[in-house]
């Protein structure tokens, strides 16, 4: 009974409710449709913007590249830090080259510094020697190729802990002087062997040379005996020269010996001998 009443009374209300619901749904649908459209629009916009961004990025990249190329090609004075750096490197390389010419150059190694000392005598490059120094915990010689008769230990004892520069320059003086003395003796043996009796007597340091020689290639005997003592190990000229001739030789020879003795103490050995032979030639030329 109650139900029937309610039914009859509620049909309208029910219809009304249904109507309201339908409206609501329609509004909702409309909204959703609008939102979807909006989203699609936005998505399209995003796509568009992304495309634009990529284009711009590519442009920027291209521009940067062009700029770099331009900068590299343009005047070094204008192109800032990079060029300055390049210039500095070039400069340092040139300095290294110069230090090579001075005869000493070094390179940092894992444990210390490796120095190369090159020797030369009268514009002839001779052997190079190496000294590898460790820096920590104290300066010490790790490896080297200096000949044993060079007093390396003494030089190291005097200068290595206090003044590496001094150590290197003294060592270089010793090596250069030795190379010079050896070079002279070798030259003499090589170019004037016919004027020397047998072989030159020398020691490892080449600081004592003894030989018998003659001036004229025509002479059958070797009238002169030379004994050159190089007292200064940093010097390639002798400090003590003794030229003697056989006691029964004529006075002219004795005079000549004295002159030679003076010459040997001033001039490189092979040059002194060269002057003998040129003297002889000029004498031959004179009537």
């Amino acid at each position: 009974m109650e139900e029937g009443k309610r039914n009859s009374a509620g049909v309208f209300t029910h219809l009304e409710r249904l109507e309201a619901q339908a409206r609501e749904i329609a509004v909702k649908q409309e909204k959703m449709k609008q939102e979807e459209e909006k989203r699609a629009r936005l998505k399209a916009r995003v796509r568009e913007l992304r495309l634009q961004r990529d284009k711009l990025l590519a442009k920027v990249r291209l521009q940067k590249k062009k700029l770099r190329e331009k900068r590299a090609m343009s005047d070094p004075a204008k192109s800032g830090a990079r060029a300055v750096l390049e210039w500095k490197i070039k400069n340092i390389k040139a300095m290294l080259q110069v230090s090579y010419v001075t005869g000493i150059n070094g390179k940092r190694t894992k444990q210390g510094v490796c120095f190369c000392i090159s020797t030369a005598y009268e514009s002839t490059y001779l052997d190079s020697y190496y000294v590898h120094l460790l820096v920590k915990p104290e300066v010490q010689i790790h490896q080297h190729s200096v000949p044993t008769f060079i007093p390396l230990e003494q030089i190291a004892k005097m200068y290595l802990q206090t003044d590496i520069g001094r150590f290197l320059s003294v060592l270089s003086d010793h090596l250069n002087a030795y190379a010079g003395r050896k070079y002279q003796a070798d030259q003499l043996q090589e170019h004037f062997s016919d004027q020397i009796e047998g072989t030159l007597q020398r020691n490892s340091l080449c600081n004592l040379l003894v030989f018998n020689y003659k001036v004229s290639s025509k002479s059958k005997t070797f009238p002169f005996n030379a004994r050159l003592l190089y007292g200064d190990l940093c010097c390639s000229l002798p400090t003590e020269v003794n030229v003697s001739c056989t006691p029964d030789a004529p006075a002219s020879l004795a005079e000549m010996a004295a002159a030679h003795s003076d010459l040997f103490s001033r001039v490189a050995l092979h040059k002194a001998f060269r002057s003998f032979s040129s003297d002889e030639e000029s004498m031959d030329g004179a009537p």
Partner: protein, 346 residues
């Protein structure tokens, strides 16, 4: 001419390879060029030696001259003997004007004052080497020419290369004479021995290939570069590792050829270290053993160990320190950490 001199010359000639006999006799200079021309050097050595002896007879050669021929032979073939390096020390630091005549005089005088019956010969070579040959006798017997000692000395250096006579008892006397003549005060054996005299010189005179890093490296002597594989399908899997090994190897051995040594000997007197729980050899006694590496060319073979993949690079400093320490006989004791690194067994 003495019979023994004739026999000595004959035997020395027999030692020389046939096609070198003539040049060695020329170096000797005892026989004139015309005398040499009379010898037929194409016949068997036995006959050549007899001809030589006959000519020497004409020139009445004595034992001192015969000994020179022996020096010449040994100078050409120093590898026939075993050389040991001795190091001398002095107290003062004065520079020496080493005078060869003075050296010879002092050396001879010292030996002769102790022993009358000795044959002493000197011969200088271009590289400033002085070769000394000493044949030893006793107060009652003549010098034994077949067991001489050889000494090679470079003036103003503290190193002496001695190939000692089998007659060992004379060694102290020889050392004394060397000290006196070269003005040093102390001499000791360096534990460095080899057949190759030149390699020993290279080691102590620091002429062996060391790796020095500089901005201006010396021109490389034709390095043996392994030919790159032409087949493109072959890919080096461990290229970087290979390069590392090569680099490390070069740092240790340098670029050039290695000095030639035949042995390296390590006498171990170390404690045996083991897990205490294992209870193996838990004694305080050192574990004594001797490890000897031998090869016709030891350092060269050590150098090729790592590139050949037979050992890890770098190789133990115990093995690679040989040229730098200038010794190939080592004694390794406990608690003296002279040599870092572990023991290596290849």
């Amino acid at each position: 001419m003495d019979e023994t001199v004739a026999e000595y010359i004959r035997r020395t000639v027999l030692k020389i390879p046939r096609d070198e006999i003539k040049t060695m006799l020329q170096k000797w200079g005892l026989l004139s060029e015309t005398q040499l021309q009379t010898i037929n050097f194409r016949q068997i050595k036995e006959n050549i030696s007899q001809d030589v002896v006959q000519l020497c007879e004409e020139n009445s050669a004595d034992i001192k001259q015969a000994a020179i021929l022996d020096i010449i032979y040994n100078h050409v073939y120093p590898n026939k003997r075993v050389w040991s390096v001795y190091q001398m020390k002095k107290t003062g630091e004065e520079t020496e004007f080493f005078d060869l005549t003075d050296f010879k005089k002092k050396f001879k005088r010292r030996l002769r004052s102790a022993l009358k019956n000795v044959t002493i010969n000197f011969r200088e070579y271009e590289d400033n080497a002085i070769w000394i040959r000493i044949a030893w006798g006793t107060p009652y017997t003549k010098p034994n020419q077949y067991k001489p000692s050889y000494v090679v000395y470079h003036s103003q250096t503290p190193y002496v290369f001695i190939s000692a006579s089998v007659l060992k008892s004379n060694l102290p006397l020889l050392c004394q004479a060397l000290l006196l003549a070269s003005n040093y005060h102390d001499i000791r054996e360096m534990e460095l021995r080899s057949h190759s005299l030149n390699s020993l010189k290279d080691i102590v005179f620091k002429r062996y290939s060391q790796n020095f890093q500089t901005h201006y490296p010396r021109p490389l002597q034709e390095r043996n570069v392994a030919p790159e594989s032409a087949d493109l399908r072959i890919i080096q899997e461990n290229r970087s590792e290979k390069e590392r090994i090569e680099r490390v190897n070069r740092e240790v051995f340098g670029d050039g050829p290695q000095p030639k040594l035949e042995f390296a000997q390590y006498k171990l007197e170390t404690m045996f270290k083991s897990d205490p729980q294992m209870d193996v050899l838990d004694k305080k006694e050192p574990f004594r053993c001797l490890v000897k590496f031998s090869s016709p060319h030891l350092l060269e073979s050590l150098k090729s160990l790592a590139p050949a993949g037979m050992a890890d690079a770098p190789i133990s400093p115990l093995l690679t320190c040989i040229p730098q320490k200038a010794r190939n006989y080592f004694k390794i004791r406990e608690r003296k950490n002279f040599f870092p690194g572990s023991f290596v067994s290849p």
